[in-house]
Every structure is written in C-alpha cells, then in structure tokens.
C-alpha cells in the first residue's frame, strides 16, 4: 500500500486536530482482543489482535546448559517468524531483517535482571537450566507491531507453566532430574516486571500512539520505549528522522505514561481471562 501526497496531508491534518482518520485521539489505542492457551503444543501461548495486526506468541521450555560466565541463570530466546500470510514481501527470507530487528529489541528489553529474574530458571548451578523459547508468529501487519508483540509476549509468559523439578541427583558426570508427572505441579513465571513497548510515531509536530500502517507511512521517525514497572528498559529511535533533546524528553514522558496505562489495562484483562472459553480463529 502506497499513499498519495494528498492522503498523507489528510492524515497529517487529522493528527494536528487531534482527530485521526479512524476517529481516535493522539494517545488512544485501537481495540484489542487477547486470547491465551490457544496452542496446545506449547507451555504457554497468546494471540493478540490489535485491529488489523495479528500475532501469535508461544512459549516452549527446554533443558539446556547455562552460560559458563553466568552459571546461575537460565536463558531466554526470541524467535520471530514473519509469515507470508501477512504480506507477500515476507515470502522466502523477505521478513528476516524485520525479524532480527524485533528479536534484538526484545532481547534488549528483557536483558536486565530487574526486568526478568533469570536465576529462577536455574535448575543446577552451571549444569542445568531452563531455556525459554519465545516464538512469535506474525500473521497480519496493520501497523504498530512492537506494541502488539510486547503485549502478546507478556501474556504468553503469564500463561506459561514450567514443569516442577522435584529432585536433582548428580551421579559422576550425569545429572538426573526427577520432573513431576503431575500436571498441576507447575511453576508460574513472575512477569510483573516484564516490559511493554510503546511506539510513538512522529507525524508533523505531534506524536501519536498506536499508529496504523497508513500513519506509519506518514511518519518522520518513531521512538520505541519499553516500560517495565514505570522504568525504561529499552529506548531506541527508528524509521529515520531526528529530534531535539527537549522533544525527546517530552516523548519519553508520554511513552512512560502510556506504558503504565497499557500495563494496567493488560493486568486487568489477564485477570478476567476465563479458561475453556470459545477461542481461536473460528470466532
């Protein structure tokens, strides 16, 4: 989709008047739908539909050896799959650049130990730990991928249960583990500090939250902030363009405000999620 100059001007004027093309204010989100436990093969999963953006996030845990320089910590890896269903541009290896960009951002956002406690994933110091694979499948791109993915990742981690290791025995070089067979014996991850990302898209003199793909095309650069418990875990600029330091601070403050609001909305939504409701793509 390419926009003509007239269309761009129309969007720009809308943003100036604080009345965007779909009737929203500058800091409003589009409606979201969140479902959890939709993929049965995974330890935890979530699907988020943010208007036209559709992502599925699944979490799988496997047993691995900790990094030698951090023997007490588990691992987490993000993998993004840009499905060609989203746009033909992603066919073959077309989506790889976007995928690395997003996975690097997520890795950066989750890198700090005050954001996610990796020591909880350790089973035996230096020998065994859990490795969390967070697999993200992008099914449709309707703008604002970062926000949608970060929300879905947080929901999927919330949904994840890790099997309980009852005992670990060391026999020479072998490590034997006794994993609980009981399905209800599971450990839930602590995701209270997991970051949520907010994209602030600069259009004209103002910046908007949750840009549609049309708005993304009119933007002169965006800034993405990852907010974890009111603190910034990652900030970066993207999409070309530059900002005055004062504008930057203003945007960051707005980002923090929106991030906190999003956080509240998500925890409310998660507390209301019911199990075994009608879910999936059929509804």
């Amino acid at each position: 989709m390419t926009l003509s100059e007239a269309e761009k001007t129309f969007i720009l004027h809308g943003v100036q008047e604080n009345f965007r093309i779909d009737g929203r204010n500058r800091d409003d989100y589009r409606p979201m739908e969140l479902e959890t436990s939709i993929i049965t093969h995974a330890f935890g999963s979530a699907r988020l539909r943010l208007a036209n953006t559709d992502v599925v996030v699944t979490v799988k845990v496997e047993i691995d050896v900790p990094f030698p320089d951090r023997p007490l910590e588990g691992k987490m890896e993000f993998f993004i799959d840009c499905s060609a269903n989203a746009t033909p541009d992603f066919e073959g290896r077309g989506g790889e650049n976007l995928a690395t960009e997003i996975s690097n951002t997520l890795t950066a956002a989750y890198s700090s130990n005050s954001v996610f406690d990796y020591t909880k994933l350790c089973i035996l110091k230096g020998r065994k730990c859990w490795k969390i694979y967070v697999d993200i499948l992008i099914l449709e791109c309707g703008g604002n991928l970062y926000d949608a993915i970060s929300i879905a990742v947080k929901a999927a981690l919330w949904n994840t249960s890790i099997p309980l290791v009852k005992s670990v025995t060391i026999d020479g070089n072998n490590v034997d583990m006794n994993v609980s067979e009981n399905l209800s014996d599971c450990i839930k991850l602590d995701i209270s500090a997991a970051p949520l990302m907010v994209t602030l898209c600069k259009i004209g003199d103002h910046c908007v939250v949750d840009p549609t793909s049309a708005e993304e095309q009119c933007s002169q650069g965006a800034i993405v902030v990852a907010i974890s418990k009111g603190k910034f875990s990652t900030v970066f600029q993207t999409g070309g363009g530059s900002l005055h330091p004062l504008t930057l601070m203003e945007k960051l403050k707005l980002g923090a405000k929106v991030g906190n609001r999003l956080e509240e909305a998500l925890s409310e939504a998660l507390s209301k999620i019911k199990e075994n409701g009608e879910m999936g793509f059929l509804n």
Partner: protein
C-alpha cells in the same frame, strides 16, 4: 549479506580461560568498588571525563572515504564506499539508503568473535544506520546506496559510539553530502554512579542491577548511547538498555549533549587537516 558457509569457524564451545582464574572471583560490589574509588576511575579519570581521542582520515586506500578512531584502547576503522544501485529493488526510492555493517574483529574482545555477524553486531548495525541516516542528505542520491563498514579492532567499551563518530568522519571524507557532523557518546549508569565513556569492565558492571533486592539503594542501571547533530541540536539516535527512570534519562541526556560538544571540534580539526592536505597536494 550472504553468509559464508564454507569458512571453518573453529570449535564451537570454547570458554575464555579467564573464567577459571582466581582474579575473576570478585563479587559485583567489590568489582564496582575497584572500578571507582572516591569518584576517580581506574585510569585516573573523573566520572564525567572522556578518554583521550585520536582520529585520522584516509587510512583504507581502496575505500572512497575511511577513518580511524581511538578512544582510549577502543580502536575502530570505518570505510565508506561509492554509492551504488540498491540491489534487489524494483521500485524507485526517493531517498538514498545507507547500508551499515558493524563487526567486531575476531580478536577484539576477551572472548573470540566469530566471522559471522552475531545478534549483538546485527543490532549495533541497525542502531548505527538509524544514527547516521538523518545526518546524510539522502535526497541527493536517490535510488543509490552507500555502504558503511565498521570494524572494531579492539573493544574497550563505547565501541558503538566510537563507530558512529568515526563513520560520520568517514562519510564526510568520502564527500557524501551531509547536514552536520555526527558524533556519539556513551554513558553507563550503575546506581548513583554515572560513568561517561565507560570502559569494557565498566560497561559490564552497568548491565546488571546490584542493589536489586535491597530497598534502600537505587537500582538503576543501564547504558545510554546518544548520537547528536550538534549545530542543529538534533538527536538522531537515542539507544538505551537496562532499567532507568525518567529522571536518570533526563540527566543522562543533558550530560551526553554536553559531552558530544567536546567531541565535535576534534572531528572538525581532523577534517580540516584532511582538506589542507588535499589542497597542498593539488597545488604541488
């Protein structure tokens, strides 16, 4: 870039021996106390003091423009090549593009780096591209791409900042039209300490929170990289990782904008030197 599958990368799972030496068994707090004593760092710098910077242009003869930078022990070479058509692209693009590749030399870090770009290097390439693009008059070369290759010869902290500043210099030397000189500075935060232009061991200290469980201490930590077009006062890239609150960031931004001002004359001087040399040569 196509990945080189034929290269033998050596054994996959090797560990630097340093992990096993006794010197390494220091707790984080001790390491931090060692790094900063009474507001003076290991190399006798103050907290907000730069390391010594050396810059030189025109060091890779094959490249259109190239530059070399030394910030303390951190050494980076950047080469910039002639604009060429954007590969695999059908549509006309109004603005030219920058292709950035950031690479650590295999011997640049304590742990050996592989020849293939890893995730960190790819991320740094993306940050570098974002930092440089607003500085370049991209409308001057539509449908073309300029390749920028940064190679870190030795990494002793702030390598990405060094690469960005150096790339700005190399782009200017290559005669690529630019709006302004681009400079970049890194700051590391650990608790109340703010370490400008951190060295490698200081950077490592900033990645994890020390006072995580104590309620009294401030548990801010992180790295902030700010790239600035000084005359226009435009931030082209603000990149942060860690966990910081808004006050920390505000303070860092102020410190970093000031710190960038210090670097600008050095870049200018280096460019002027290059121009004078060129004029002399042509007059002879």
């Amino acid at each position: 870039m196509p990945v080189d599958h034929k290269r033998i990368n050596g054994p996959e799972n090797t560990i630097p021996y340093k992990l096993y030496t006794k010197l390494n068994v220091k707790s984080f707090k001790e390491a931090l106390q060692d790094a900063v004593k009474n507001g003076v760092r290991n190399d006798k710098r103050k907290l907000d003091e730069h390391r010594r910077i050396f810059m030189k242009t025109d060091i890779v003869s094959q490249a259109k423009g190239s530059a070399y930078i030394e910030i303390g022990n951190t050494k980076v070479v950047v080469s910039v090549f002639d604009p060429r058509e954007i590969p695999n692209k059908n549509e006309y693009s109004l603005n030219g593009e920058l292709y950035c590749e950031f690479k650590f030399a295999p011997f640049s870090c304590p742990k050996r780096r592989l020849h293939q770009q890893d995730a960190e290097e790819k991320q740094n390439s993306i940050v570098m591209k974002q930092a440089l693009e607003p500085a370049v008059c991209r409308h001057e070369f539509p449908n073309f791409q300029v390749d920028v290759y940064a190679l870190v010869l030795e990494n002793d902290g702030s390598a990405l900042s060094a690469a960005i500043t150096c790339a700005g210099l190399a782009l200017a030397q290559a005669g690529i039209p630019m709006f302004d000189i681009i400079t970049s500075v890194t700051i590391g935060i650990q608790g109340d300490l703010k370490l400008l232009d951190p060295m490698l061991h200081e950077e490592t200290l900033c990645y994890t929170s020390i006072n995580k469980n104590s309620k009294t201490g401030k548990n801010s930590h992180g790295i902030v990289i700010l790239s600035l077009l000084n005359t226009h006062q435009q931030v082209t890239e603000f990149y942060q990782v860690g966990s910081l609150d808004i006050d920390d960031i505000e303070e860092c931004t102020k410190v970093l904008t000031e710190a960038n001002k210090v670097v600008v004359p050095l870049v200018e001087k280096c460019l002027a030197k290059h121009v004078i040399k060129g004029v002399k040569e042509s007059s002879q």
